[in-house]
């Protein structure tokens, strides 16, 4: 079990692509520490006799027909894009 002090919030924020101020880093260090303590608390509970459940209701593997249907036009899909041109999303440069 990781200790709160082992949490590298700055590293997690980099992975999540979040910019944090020093004050936020300190605050989230504490808040994430609380979540870790919650995980620790759950170890008190004996669940060895319980069957693991991944879903609140017994629904498994919901498939649909792989068939075309009327849905978005490209124009509609682009209608909320912050930057677009020629029917395409403009993204920030990812190659040199």
């Amino acid at each position: 079990m990781a200790k709160t002090s082992d949490l590298d919030v700055a590293y997690i924020a980099r992975l999540a692509r979040l910019n944090l101020t020093d004050a936020e880093t300190e605050l989230f260090q504490k808040q994430l520490g609380d979540v870790l303590r919650y995980a620790e608390k759950l170890r008190e509970v004996d669940v060895s006799h319980m069957e693991a459940a991944a879903h609140a209701v017994p629904i498994f593997n919901v498939f649909r027909e792989d068939a075309p249907r009327d849905w978005f036009t490209a124009e509609q899909a682009l209608s909320n894009a912050p930057h677009q041109a020629n029917g395409l999303f403009i993204v920030t440069k990812v190659v040199e």
């Binding site: 997690i12 924020a13 999540a16 692509r17 979040l18 910019n19 944090l20 936020e24 605050l27 989230f28 808040q31 994430l32 609380d34 979540v35 919650y38 995980a39 608390k41 759950l42 008190e44 509970v45 879903h55 609140a56 209701v57 629904i59 919901v62 649909r64 978005f72 509609q76 899909a77 209608s79 909320n80 894009a81 912050p82 930057h83 999303f89 993204v91 920030t92 440069k93 990812v94």
Partner: protein, 355 residues
């Protein structure tokens, strides 16, 4: 009854007036609009209103449908085609929903008219509606108090007669708690009963859409409209939907209700305790048997909630990347700067730690 009194009606009492053609759906929209203009400056329940679209709907409304001509307020996390859907976050400022959520499609099929989007805690994370990036909503009973949250806008709108009924969403209490704080009826339906298609996800294993209304009967009427299987939502239950009004007006003989002893703990507010005691007495008088039960894992519920809700929110909010929709930071110097500043500038202080 004059037009001015109409907004105070509940849905079930408004409907006979509509069906006897004593009032038209268009008149209902107009008096509601006047009521909102009168009081929403103080309550601030709404983030956006579209009376032009609502009036058009009203002109062709079929009042004989189950909710024919009844205007319904919609939490701003549920997609209504062509309308803003901000989730009370700057990151969705300017976004317009390109389609109707299934619950909206079903409400429309039942004749209801969406006309406005209500305030909430940003991305439904909060329990007072103070975490909205847009504005503060006041409790209509006491403007110095919060209406609860996260569906606080819908709860306040219904309580202040600015809506005949509303939709909210509930992940960890976000319908039930604002309903309690604002003195209206709120229901979190059983998971899977109501489709979330077109509803912005917070914690997908817990989120449900449900009604906020003035009466239990109205709650049943809205449930009759929105419940049911949706092929576009894989977690929705493929089970027959009962008529939720069928159980109304009966006594409670033969009904056994459990009262968990873990819910009555040291520090429970005496007024809350008194209200529960009064409810027990009332339910007893209606014939229900109240039994003491124990839910020994109650103490772990908060821990499980915070672990699951934060993990699921992290996955669900990762889609806000400033590419396909929503806010995007100006002139990013590279891709990391694009993501980092888009989220720094777009997300409020409460949703950021959810990552």
């Amino acid at each position: 009854m004059t037009g001015k009194d109409l907004p105070a009606l509940n849905i079930a009492d408004l409907q006979p007036l509509l069906r006897r053609r004593e009032v038209s759906p268009r008149e209902v929209i107009d008096v509601l609009r006047a009521r909102i203009q009168d009081v929403d400056g103080e309550i601030d329940a709404y983030l956006s209103l579209d009376f032009e679209a609502a009036a058009k709907e009203a002109e062709k409304a079929n009042v004989d449908l189950p909710l024919g001509g009844v205007p319904i307020a919609i939490k701003d996390i549920i997609s209504v085609a062509g309308e803003p859907c901000t989730c009370a976050s700057k990151i969705l400022h300017g976004y317009r929903a390109p389609y109707d959520a299934t619950v909206i499609r079903k409400l429309r099929a039942a004749g209801a008219i969406p006309f406005g989007k209500t305030n909430m805690d940003e991305f439904a994370m909060g329990s007072s509606t103070e975490n909205s990036a847009m504005k503060l909503t006041r409790n209509p009973w006491d403007l110095s108090r919060v209406p609860g949250g996260s569906s606080g806008g819908s709860a306040a709108a219904v309580a202040a007669d600015e809506a005949f009924g509303g939709l909210g969403t509930d992940t960890g209490g976000s319908i039930r708690q604002p309903a309690a704080l604002s003195g209206v009826v709120g229901l979190k339906p059983t998971y899977g009963r109501v489709s979330r298609f077109g509803v912005v996800a917070f914690a997908s294993s817990l989120d449900q859409v449900g009604p906020l209304t003035k009466t239990v009967r109205d709650s049943a009427l809205i449930m009759n409209a929105i419940a049911g299987h949706d092929p576009q939502e894989t977690t929705s239950l493929n089970e027959p939907v009962p008529d939720y009004t069928a159980g109304l007006g009966r006594d409670l003989r033969g009904v056994r209700l459990g009262l968990a002893k873990e819910y009555m703990i040291e520090g429970t507010n005496p007024q809350v305790k008194a209200a529960i005691d009064a409810a027990v007495k009332h339910l007893n008088s209606l014939g229900a048997e109240i039994v003491d039960v124990s839910l020994p894992h109650t103490d772990y519920a908060t821990a499980v909630y915070y672990i699951l809700a934060t993990a699921e929110a992290s996955a669900n909010l990762a889609r806000f990347d400033g590419v396909r929709y929503g806010y995007r930071a100006e002139n990013p110097k590279d891709l990391l700067d694009h993501y980092g500043r888009t989220r720094e500038e777009g997300f409020g202080p409460f949703s950021a730690p959810m990552f």
